[in-house]
């Protein structure tokens, strides 16, 4: 009998069932109240079609009894949350949700919720992970999850269009989506002229505040035909498909702006591959890894690769490559090292903090290339503190240290103006000392053709 007392922290809202940890395996309990839906979904081939098309996470039935059915979904190595997605990722997650809703509707089901947390990224694509989100469609009823779709998907996407990708950070404060009224207030006035934005956001906001107080179940909910509901879904799909960031910057110039030449670039790539190979890693994370250029040099010898960057354009650019090349072992997401995603929601544990997730992921190799000068000089983080951060989840750390002679370090220092003397500590010796608190030095090598040194450190206390 599988033990079910270890309930997953994000799994308490839905009465249909819950997720629990069975050792290292995550399983899902389905309660009798959801048996009819589950059986129909399994027997009619709906689950099968969705899984086969890579839209829904696959699962195995582990045990069946009268009190509960236990299923075991395919393992996902790392869960990213909506506030860590680039624009393209967010968009794809929204389209996936609509696609599933449209298909479900054609089979007599609906998505009973449209939370952005139902989707995550796995094997290079967005995937729906809440197997119990389906409910029977009742003829003539409007879509109950409609408002949730607007506050979790359409709203954030449209706001990002006008205000930039950083808007997704708002999802950290509003775990159940950005309030409709706030979305409406943040949109430019001309959005009222849009035949999609006016009804779906402005009118919705108006109707919501009008009916907010007098809900005693007196107002009769009007019928909505299946055809009408399909029209809503399709028009949202078409609209979101065409959405793009207004301020889409010209990305891709980053590496042409590097302060070292092509040979040095290749040397660095070779060095990384040379160092990573004997470590034989299954999991690797590249923090501040831009569009994944350096992570891709070892992609073929590592089973699962994560690349994070603060620049959402770089993450988007990386994700587009993942899609184009159908790369299954590359997961890009947005992360500001100086302010990693906190634990949010009820008990602060509903969505885990980035550090907690990284500790559970336990990468064999952590890479931090051309990052330390930003953390230290832009973020004013002492070496010992950044070492502490990396030590929390890293076993082997490959870190690049640009010396004071490096032109980027120079320019960061110049920006300190009269405080430049406060940053005398930025040098090789202090860096090595700071990191020696948590790490043993395994090797170091100057990257030929640059003013940078590459280090390989081993965590002193990892796994103990």
């Amino acid at each position: 009998m599988t033990k079910t007392n270890n309930i997953h922290e994000a799994s308490f809202r839905d009465p249909s069932g819950f997720m629990f940890h069975d050792g290292d395996t995550l399983r899902r309990v389905i309660k009798p109240i959801y048996f009819p839906q589950y059986k129909k979904l399994s027997e009619s081939g709906i689950f099968k079609t969705l899984i086969k098309n890579g839209l829904l996470i696959s699962h195995q039935e582990t045990s069946v009894s009268e009190e509960k059915i236990v299923i075991t979904p395919e393992k996902i190595p790392f869960i990213t949350n909506p506030y860590e997605w680039g624009f393209e990722q967010y968009k794809q997650a929204a389209l996936l949700t609509l696609k599933i809703q449209k298909y479900a509707l054609s089979k007599g089901f609906i998505l009973k919720d449209a939370s952005a947390y139902n989707v995550t990224f796995h094997k290079g694509k967005p995937i729906f992970i809440d197997t119990l989100s389906f409910d029977f469609y009742e003829e003539g009823t409007p879509w109950r999850a409609y408002k949730q779709f607007i506050t979790h998907f359409l709203g954030p996407l449209v706001l990002a269009k006008y205000h930039g990708n950083e808007v997704f950070n708002m999802m950290q404060s509003f775990i159940d989506g950005i309030p409709v009224k706030m979305i409406a207030s943040m949109l430019p006035r001309r959005s009222k002229l849009s035949s999609v934005l006016y009804p779906n956001i402005h009118l919705l906001a108006k109707m919501e505040s009008k009916h907010n107080d007098d809900y005693k179940g007196e107002t009769k909910i009007s019928k909505l035909s299946k055809k009408a509901q399909n029209n809503i879904i399709s028009s949202l799909y078409n609209y979101i498909q065409k959405l793009s960031l207004k301020e889409e910057s010209e990305w891709g110039e980053y590496y042409s702006k590097t302060n070292y030449n092509k040979d040095a670039f290749e040397t660095k790539k070779n060095l990384i591959r040379e160092w990573v190979t004997p470590l034989n890693p299954e999991k690797l994370i590249d923090i501040g890894g831009n569009d994944g250029t350096f992570a891709r040099t070892v992609q073929d010898i590592v089973q699962h690769v994560i690349v994070t960057d603060i620049d959402s354009n770089a993450v988007d650019y990386n994700f587009k490559q993942v899609l184009r090349n159908k790369e299954e072992n590359m997961l890009p997401f947005v992360c500001d090292v100086l302010q990693p995603a906190p634990g949010i929601g009820f008990n602060n544990t509903e969505r885990s903090s980035l550090i907690k997730r990284l500790q559970e992921y336990a990468p064999d190799v952590t890479m931090a290339l051309a990052l330390i000068h930003h953390i230290t000089l832009s973020g004013n983080v002492p070496f010992e503190k950044s070492a502490e951060f990396f030590a929390k989840f890293s076993n082997n750390l490959i870190i690049e240290f640009p010396t004071r002679a490096d032109s980027w370090v120079e320019s960061l220092l110049i920006r300190k103006r009269e405080f430049i003397n406060h940053f005398e500590f930025y040098n090789k010796t202090n860096f090595e000392n700071g990191y020696s608190t948590y790490f043993d030095l395994v090797k170091k090598e100057k990257v030929a053709g640059t003013k940078r040194i590459l280090y390989l450190f081993k965590n002193k206390t990892y796994g103990s």
Partner: protein
Amino acid sequence: MNFLYFDPGLGAMLVQAVVAVAAGVLLFSKNAMYKLKSFLGLTKDEDGYDSIDVDEEDTDESNDKNE
């Protein structure tokens, strides 16, 4: 059976009638434009995104029917 564990919002339930009408008009005009454009030979391929429709051809369900 109703498993609603969050408030769908009464306004949101009501507004869908209006949203659907607007969507209907939009889709109709989009279709009409598409037909006109393809008649004039002006259509081009959509940019890399999947269609909203789920491909059901390769499922076992349809295979069973063939057997």
